[in-house]
């Protein structure tokens, strides 16, 4: 029984990893080799594709831009979601249920069709082609998610703790920062991870709201299609480099991520 389980798991993992292996494999090949004979391992192992990316500012600035707006988005999302999630987990107030549903319904709006209004809105307030524009636009779907996850984690903290702190003379602000936030550390970590994930993988809004200064890496990748056809090696290397930050981030939250995937509600 155990063996059949392990076997099944292995087969699925191979299915997950094969396409990624192929990309990594390609990124270490020269274009001649890619287009020539199909090889399972690069015969002329080369770092040229990576060197191209790391020495060309128009390439590596794409990564800097992406990481900048993702980080800004994470900070904004956490700052406004923490108090909001606290309110949802502790208090009843006028319209709370409707507000919560409205928040979630934003996740259901097809982004492809809201591109033009988004572009007009951010152009009219002078934010077009800034990192802040992309960070704010991504808030539309990261904040609902963050509130949902945080609310789940916060509801797991008994309210007696709040009340004891108030009796001991803590103000709301001091209680929240000194006592409450450390108690839901793992929840915050998981929320940051999900915020990162959704902001990092999104391309449409990021591409629409930027032109030069804040252009994300995923938009720059389309550059590899040149007059001489597609530069497959560099394309693959750029792709591999977009996977790395994700691995790094998930490594930090690996112990909490299972709970986070259930949005703190298991």
């Amino acid at each position: 029984m155990i063996n059949r389980r392990t076997l099944g798991m292995l087969i699925y993992l191979i299915f997950v990893l094969l396409p990624i292996y192929w990309l990594v494999n390609m990124s270490f090949k020269t274009n001649e080799e890619i287009l020539g004979q199909l090889t399972l391992w690069p015969t002329n192992f080369t770092f040229d594709n990576y060197i191209t990316i790391f020495t060309d500012a128009s390439w590596y600035m794409g990564y800097v831009n992406s990481i900048t707006y993702v980080a800004m988005n994470m900070v904004i999302t956490l700052l406004v979601s923490l108090p909001a999630a606290y309110a949802f987990s502790r208090y009843k107030f006028v319209g709370d249920k409707h507000l919560f549903f409205w928040l979630l319904s934003n996740r259901m709006a097809p982004p492809a069709v809201f591109l033009l209004p988004f572009f007009q809105l951010y152009s009219s307030v002078g934010l077009f082609d800034t990192h802040l524009a992309v960070a704010l636009a991504h808030c539309l779907f990261t904040i609902p998610l963050a509130v949902w996850i945080l609310e789940g984690f916060m509801s797991g903290v008994p309210r007696e703790i709040d009340e004891t702190a108030y009796i001991d003379g803590y103000s709301f602000g001091r209680f929240f920062i000194k006592i409450f936030i450390p108690m839901i550390r793992s929840g915050i970590g998981v929320t940051a991870f999900f915020t990162f994930m959704f902001s990092w993988v999104e391309l449409l809004l990021a591409r629409t709201l930027t032109s030069v200064d804040a252009k994300p890496i995923s938009a720059i990748m389309t550059r590899t299609v040149g007059a001489a056809g597609i530069d497959w090696g560099v394309l693959a290397a750029a792709g591999v480099l977009t996977i790395l930050p994700g691995i790094l981030v998930i490594w930090f939250v690996r112990n909490h991520v299972a709970k986070g995937f259930a949005l703190g509600r298991v």
Binding site: L99, P110, F118, G239, I247, F261, A262
Partner: protein, 295 residues
């Protein structure tokens, strides 16, 4: 947890509300505005009422695209939900293997969507891709750039690769929350493996499965980037899903009015299906209140 009524809590919600409202309500209102007018340029626009709505509801191109979209979303759910549950049941539960499998499974979820398209574009090609090359050498005539069925299947396979992990991780976290006592009780009763799954594991997975089905439905229904990169919607129209048809209308042909009208219809369809699904589930939950969760 019983909550205290307190309207001052709005002050805590307000910053979040303003921020989301800025990005949500203004663009939505703009779309509503477009959908009611015939726009020629910046200064010339005529109010046309519900004319665009009548037009798009009769548009056969949109009907086809909507049908394709439903077909795709149902196929996605039909494959990914059972497969995700199966993978979750096979995942190791402790030790370094558990962490390793968790991270490897989460990998596809962390790749930018256009890179997912690129990976499969390369992987499935008959000349330079491992997958396409292997199929061709096995004597299967496979070419996703010219055969509509192959293209459709490739997009489906790509989506299964990309998103099954999400369902699996959701179910995995659901399974971890089942107390050991349940399994011990089943052991004493000599329950079969199937009985354990059917009467212990599956009921406890309901909450996470609701989230999983909702997320997968919404996201697959709005899919845009991956098929756009992989096939560009072709060959023919075989992989042109709803988002792409609308983008073509709005940006390609500049038919903003009809595109906006249909966008709103589209939004309402997603809302309606999600709401129906959600109420059905919660209604079912109420009717069999015997199975109350112990948390």
């Amino acid at each position: 947890m019983n909550k205290i009524p307190n309207n001052k809590a709005w002050w805590l919600v307000l910053p979040m509300f303003l921020l989301v409202a800025f990005s949500a309500i203004i663009p939505l209102m703009t779309v509503v505005n477009y959908s009611l007018q015939d726009i020629f340029d910046q200064n010339t626009a005529y109010f046309v009422g519900v004319e665009w709505y009548q037009e798009v509801l009769r548009d056969t191109r949109l009907h086809d695209s909507l049908l394709r979209q439903f077909g795709f979303s149902f196929s996605v759910l039909l494959i990914e939900i059972p497969l995700g549950i199966a993978v979750a049941l096979m995942m190791p539960t402790r030790g370094w293997q558990a962490s390793a499998v968790l991270i490897l499974l989460a990998l596809p979820l962390l790749i930018p969507w256009n890179v997912v398209g690129t990976i499969w574009q390369v992987f499935a090609r008959g000349d330079i891709g491992l997958f396409g090359w292997t199929l061709n050498n096995l004597g299967i005539d496979y070419n996703y750039t010219s055969n509509p069925l192959d293209a459709w299947l490739t997009v489906l396979l790509m989506d299964v690769w990309h998103w099954t992990s999400l369902v699996a991780l959701l179910c995995y976290s659901g399974l971890r929350a089942i107390p050991d006592a349940y399994y011990q009780a089943a052991k004493i009763d000599r329950a079969s493996r199937w009985a354990v799954f059917r009467y212990i594991q599956l009921p406890r997975l309901k909450n996470v499965l609701v989230i999983g089905v909702l997320l997968r439905f919404m996201d697959s229904f709005m899919i845009y980037t991956e098929p756009f990169v992989l096939t560009g919607g072709g060959p023919g129209n075989s992989t042109t899903f709803l988002s792409q048809t609308l983008t073509q209308m709005a940006i390609g042909q500049f038919d903003i009015g009809p595109a906006a009208a249909f966008s709103l219809v589209y939004f309402l369809i997603v809302l309606l299906v999600s709401w129906l699904f959600f109420t059905t589930i919660t209604h079912m939950e109420k009717s069999d209140s015997g199975s109350k969760y112990d948390k």
